[in-house]
Every structure is written in C-alpha cells, then in structure tokens.
C-alpha cells in the first residue's frame, strides 16, 4: 500500500451536544480519491463525524466542537472561511433523498445557478451531463420539467447525487445513502459511487458491514465517540488490530 495522500484530516476533534460528548479526540485522515467508510454501532458518532466534515454540525441545536478539520491543509472552521464555500466543496447524500421543491431540471440547475458555474446557454448541457453521471438521464430526459417529487425514491437519490455533483465538489459525503432504498436502487447508487471515486474523495457512513466490505478502500471503525481503528480496508477487515474491532466485525455487537 502506497503512502496515503490525505484530502481531509481531523485533528483532536471533540463534539458536544449540550453537555454530552459525541466525539472524543478524533484524529483521522481521509485519503484522496478513495471510498472511506465510517462504521460502528449506532450512536457511536459516525453521523456526527460526517456532519463535522461539511460544517453541518453547526445546524444542530446546542452543538459545539473543538479541534480542527483540515481540507487540503486548511481548517474549515477558521473564522476567515466562508461556510457556503466549505459546503459547496462537498456533495451530500442524506439518508432519505430530499429533492428541492421544483422540477427535475431545476433541481440540478439550482446549484449551478446560485454559484454561477455555467452561462445560461451551457446550462442545459451541464444539467444533462450531471444527470448522465448520476445514471438518471435516460429515465427522465422526456420529463425534465415534471416535479421532482414524482420520481421514485431511488431515482430521487440519484437526482440528489446529480444535484450535488453539479456544484462541482471535491468530496462526496453520504450518510447511509442507500438505507432507505430498495436493493436495485441501492445497487445503482453503489455502482455510481465506485465510478465516481476516480474523480472524487468519497466518505460514507454505513451500518451495513457487507456494504462496507464491497465498497470501502479505507475504513474507520468508531465506538462510543472514539476512533478505535482506522486503516486500509483489507487490513481492517482481514487483520484487525483491536479486540473490539474484531468483535464488531464478527457480529458480536
């Protein structure tokens, strides 16, 4: 295994909701152009960690963090950093897809318009491009101006992927992005993510171990707010260093 090139990095990250501590001294690296999967039992802080990576943690009530999150070496929490710029750099796939209340076309065009990424003339072409990348174009090309809410939930998740890619991010964050989908739609999303790691750094939260084994290049195992073990997938899965990781992987909790 060659040297890890970090894209994202956390240093001594602590997160609190009110007086309960959700993350304790988390220091991890997230390698560039790989799929990193954060695994662990529910309530271990996986989603909180993900939320720290695009400053979504700030939208939670009473949440407070200490420590640093470095994106290409720059702390995204430093006061001089614009939060919208941070979020633009990462596309987010939520547990349940949430289309914007507009047409299929406008959902993808929204980010392009607010960030003025393409001229009006190129807009249609750009929308088509991202819908193709997300694998949705063929299914929607005849009804681009229909409400996005008419799509099936699996199609909606791919629409959210296209919408996220349209703002030209570097990172794709996914919070159990297939958990609300049927198996076929989940497979669709997984296939796209494997294709996309050529160009993007992908960080996924998952509680499905089989999925983690299928997709992960790099694994972070968390337990009770702490990182127990992190490393290349083959190493963590085949030769875990910690007793707790071993127990989790063998299904003991």
């Amino acid at each position: 295994m060659s040297e890890i090139i970090p894209h994202l990095e956390t240093q001594n990250l602590n997160a609190y909701y009110g007086s309960t501590q959700a993350l304790e001294d988390v220091s991890i690296v997230i390698p560039r152009n790989q799929i990193t999967m954060i695994i662990g039992p529910s309530g271990c802080g996986k989603t909180t960690l993900l939320k720290c990576l695009n400053r979504f943690i700030e939208l939670e009530e009473n949440a407070r963090i200490e420590g640093k999150v470095l994106l290409d070496g720059e702390n995204i929490y430093s006061p001089s950093v614009d939060v919208t710029e941070v979020r633009k750099k990462s596309g987010l796939l939520a547990q349940r897809p949430y289309p914007l209340p507009m047409s299929i076309f406008d959902n993808v065009a929204y980010g392009i318009r607010i960030h003025r990424l393409h001229s009006r003339g190129q807009l249609h072409q750009a929308v088509q491009h991202y819908l193709q990348v997300a694998g949705l174009w063929e299914e929607v090309k005849d009804r681009l101006h229909a409400p996005a809410s008419q799509l099936s939930i699996g199609q909606q998740q791919r629409l959210c992927l296209a919408r996220g890619l349209a703002v030209e991010p570097e990172i794709i964050l996914g919070d159990e992005p297939t958990s609300a989908l049927d198996p076929i739609s989940a497979q669709h999303i997984e296939k796209r993510l494997i294709e996309l790691k050529q160009r993007y750094t992908i960080v996924l939260v998952s509680h499905i171990l089989r999925q983690a084994r299928r997709l992960a290049d790099y694994v972070i195992f968390m337990y009770m707010g702490r990182v127990v073990e992190a490393g290349p997938a083959h190493q963590v899965f085949n030769n875990p260093q910690h007793e707790r990781t071993r127990a989790y992987l063998s299904g003991e909790f």
């Binding site: 979020r87 929204y110 607010i114 809410s149 996220g164």
Partner: protein, 284 residues
Amino acid sequence: MRWKWQQLEEKIVQLFMLLSFALILFCLLLILYTIVAKGLPSLSWAMISQTPKGGFYLGKEGGILNAIIGSLYLALGGTLIALLFAFPLALLLNIYLSQSLWADLVRLSLDILWGIPSIVYGAFGFTVMIFLGWRASLLGGILTLALLEFPIMARAMDEVIRRLPPDLPRAAYALGSTNLETAFFVVTRQILPGLATAALLAFGRGIGDAASVLFTAGYTDRIPNSLFSPAASLPLAVFFQLGTPFPEVQQRAYSAALILTIIVLGISLSSRWLAHYLDRFSIH
C-alpha cells in the same frame, strides 16, 4: 362490559361531531339563503355598473360601483402592504431567529394584535391621521387595513413555515446556499401554496371589515381617483343602506352583501385552485 361502553362513547362523540357540522352548515346556508333571497331581486346591471345618482339612498337610480371599486382598492392595497411586511417577518422568525426568545416575543405580540377589535385599529388610524393632518382617504384606509391584516397574515405564514420539514433547508445548505438563497429560492417555493392561503385569509378579513375603514377611508359616492380622495366600501354600503327606513334601499343592502360574498367566494375559489396548482412542486 368495557367493550360496550367504548362503543357507546364512540357513538356519542360521533353524534357531537355530526351535530356541530350540521350546525355550521345550517348557519352558512341560512346566511347565504338570506343574502340571496333578499339581495337577488334588486341585483341588476345598474347596481354593479353605476355610482349612486341623486336620490339613490331614497330608492332612486344608481348603483354601488363606488363601493365595489373602493373595497377592492382598499383590500388589495392593504393586503399588498401587509404582505410586504408579513412575509419577511415570518421568514425572519423561522430562519434567522428560530428558537430564540425574540421569536416567541414577536409571536406573542402578533397574537395580541390579532385579537384587537378592528374598531380600535380604526380609531388608532384616525388618531394618527389627525396628527398628520390627513383627511379620510383611500391611503388612510389602506394603511389601517394593512395594520389589521398584518398580524393575521404574519401569524398564518409563520405557521406555514414552521411546518416546513427541516431536511428541506438542509438540502439547500448542503449545496452551499446562503440563508437568503435558501429562504427565497427553496423555502418560498415549497410554501407558496400556504402563503397564498395566508394572504387570502387576510384579504377576506380586510375586505369584509367595516369598523376600520369607517373613520379612515370615509364614504363617498364617487370612485376614488387618487390615494388622497375618500373611498367607499361594501361593508359600509351594507351598513348605511340597512340603516335607512326605505325597504327598497334595505333590499339593496342585501344585494351589496351578495356582491361582497361573491367577490370573497370568487377569490377564495381561485386561490384554492392556484394553491393546488402550485402544490405540484412541493415535497410531501
């Protein structure tokens, strides 16, 4: 035994629901019947196309075009101005001030304002107008109505925005939207049907209110030609004509009420249709 009693309970509650529904329906139909039965005979083209001629209030020729136009001007103007303040306030309460003590304080004030009788708004508007040296005028009426409609509209919109699923603004934030972009391009799009309903609710209250325009807009037989000329209104047309001792004129009061009802009904139905149309894009 318990089973029997539960069934009985169910039946009693259902009976009460049915009774209250019947009572409401009965009142509505009675009102409509009274207005139509008494108003329809004297509803004529002249009523809606002419202003009062000499001797109109004694039962002679003319119509109430002055009041129809006046009411539309007053209510539309009032609604537009109220909208200008109510919508940003509702957004402010939910997107910028959410969960803060200030938001609760503002909501409390709006609820109090909502409960103030409209005659108080009328008196307040009148006092301010005297202080400014204004006479009864369309503008005075519009501003007073805006004041009356504002808390209703703001509170109704506030409730509409509060029911917004929190994942929706998050989806927009995830794409790097600012608060303002989220508010205007995403949240507004989602709640447009609710906003239309809130605006209509306020419009209905405004166009039907007599007390607030009594002192502030005055009454005139002419169609207002500037913001500073007095304006007639349908509720006052009903009020004045019912107060005369002549049966023909009293009958005209009912036909004025019929016209007012038709306007409100028409706007209500078209806004329902509009809300339904806009709702296609909302996420449920």
